[in-house]
């Protein structure tokens, strides 16, 4: 298991389609592929949180409740090319990569911020690992840790993908975010054991009790 060099990245990108590492499109291979990483661009869709509708994030309340709350409190915004997206200090939004990726079984990867953007306070990924067999656009957790608003445009190269081979007999991981073409809402509620570790819910402890239009818990 080792980090892929530029030559090896090219090799994986040029394999027959059924074994290939697909990153599509790579608009400018010379600019985007480096010694040990591939730059990824910011996509056109973002997921924002509407805080006034958000009581609390408690995955243990059960998947139906949480799924509905996430849908009620988060919303998508599409930005066309050449339209700005302003990320304010301490604001977290979900973005996606413009590129669609397909990992063969023998490769895994890590998504990292590009240092040029990191120096301006932009963190683009906190959940960075990409499993072998993943197909789709990666969701980027965009966070502005700086002190001034950052203006972002779809197409900017904000992230970098570091690749490595997988040792042993590679299996294919089935991600719950498979085939995403834009950022995906969290599906943490699909973890079956959240219910085990969470505090049992009683009507009086339910913070949604004060909210109008409560989603049904049936």
């Amino acid at each position: 298991m080792g980090l892929l060099s530029k030559a090896h990245i090219y090799k994986w990108l040029n394999k027959p389609l059924d074994q290939r590492l697909v990153i599509t499109p790579i608009l400018d291979p010379e600019e985007q592929i480096h010694e040990g990483s591939v730059d990824l661009r910011l996509g056109t869709t973002f997921i924002l949180t509407q805080k006034t509708e958000f009581p609390q994030m408690d995955p243990a309340r059960g998947w139906e409740v949480l799924a509905k709350e996430i849908r009620r409190c988060q919303f998508r915004v599409s930005k066309r090319l050449h339209k700005k997206f302003i990320l304010h200090p301490q604001q977290l939004v979900l973005g996606g990569t413009l590129e669609y990726l397909s990992f063969p079984a023998g490769l895994g990867g890590y998504v990292l911020s590009r240092s040029s953007w990191g120096r301006q306070g932009l963190v683009i990924a906190t959940a960075t690992f990409v499993n072998p067999g993943f197909k789709g656009c990666l969701t980027l957790e965009l966070l502005n840790l700086g002190e001034v608003p950052l203006v972002l445009y779809p197409g900017y190269r904000v992230a970098q993908l570091v690749l490595h081979t997988v040792s042993g007999k590679p299996g294919v991981h089935k991600s719950r975010y498979q085939y995403a073409t834009e950022p995906e809402f969290s599906r943490v509620y699909e973890d079956p054991e959240l219910e085990l570790w969470g505090e049992p819910v009683t009507p009086s402890s339910d913070p949604r009790a004060c909210l109008p239009n409560q989603p049904s818990r049936e």
């Binding site: 090219y10 499109p25 608009l27 669609y100």
Partner: protein
Amino acid sequence: MSKSAALAGLFLKAEEIRTHADRLSLVPFPSERPKDFALFLSNVCRKLQSLIKQGHFDNVDERVITITTIFLVDEVAPMLRYVEGASSENTPANLVLPMEKIGERIIKGATFIIRRQWHYNYAAVELRSTLEPRLTSLPAKNEWQDVLRKLRTQVYAISFPYLERDNTALHVSLAHEIGHQVAPSYLSKEDETEVLDELHGEIQKMVTTVTTPDRVQRAEEIGRSLTRAYQLRQAALTELLSDTISAHVFGPSVLFALYEIASLSESIDKISFDMHPPWRLRIDHMLDTLDDLGFVNKQSFSLSCWPETASPALREVKSEIDRWLGRLEPIVSDWRDRVEVNKEPSSSSAYISAYRKLADLRKFAAGYFLYPPYSQDMFRKEVPMLLERLQMDLPPNQIEQHLTQTRDVSLASILASVWLYKLTSLPSLFERDPEGYAKRVHTLNRLTLKAIELSEVKREYQEWQRKRGAETRGPTE
């Protein structure tokens, strides 16, 4: 109501519409067109308020004020629904810009707004022709002409059924609606007297002294039939020409879409027709057009643009599509619609005349395009490879032999590959696993929209690279 109260009412209605139009202009749209139109409507209201304040309406008849108010509430305000339905959220956003470009290439100088509607059909309406005569009849005509100068010569609102928002491949039918706007340039070239004489002759053959012995009754029936026959003929030719134009833009996909809509909106077996030609006739005409263009062989009901050297899996896809086309044979060879059409002198004469024009119609469509339309050669070179990408859960955005050896593909090929996937891979999946089928359809729609987006982004990037290269190199010797 006093004149002053009527004027106050008009002022307030303009204020309301302006507020809504300004608010709507801030919504995210996939293109600038809906926003521009919202701002235009806002400007209309602003101008009206300004003219009221300047006293231009002080000396007009009270009825003019009432009629203008009715015009605002009944015609201008409802136009905001075209803007509202065109937002990014309400449309298959990535498809909108390329579709607008297609429309603007076919109808020079026109603007297209693509929007949802809850009615299950595709439709088109031109907006400027509604606004212009009303606005220029208001006081201060010259100022209204200045306002109208901001609007293109034609503004078409093209609607798609909202239930099918994500069914991107079905939206090749938008090209049919764009084709509708070409029909007047065909029909206006016809000699109206000749057309009426032809229809009259055909009607006379059916309304005879035997069928209607009374002379006066006969003359009346011929007159009635002639009016309806003319309307039916023009409507039939408009529909069939629109189908032909759409076949030039999207190739076989329009046949697949036509069949899907025919199956969903009205049973193909229903023997009826109105101002639309019977489905069977449209499918038959579409097959003839696609045969002319080299996409299908109508004699054998088979795809005629598939690579000879295709892999066994792709050969199987062709066989599956041929089987699908084969299912059209009993549909188009069923003449019950035509028998129905022939029962009435008006419809019979209209369709006899329209049938005579079909070859001419296809010739006109072929000569209409100022740029090369979609060809069977592009289909053959692009679609099979894009289909392979879809089969591997990749967006069909480009052909990649090698990282530095990629081939851009047309929107028509992207959508054709999606149709082939839909027709060959999905039906058996539904039989095995209905939920898996629904998920797969969802994934397919997402991959389609992504492919369209990536293909557009790449085109733009390459254009920028070319310009940048030219600037860096400087002028050549």
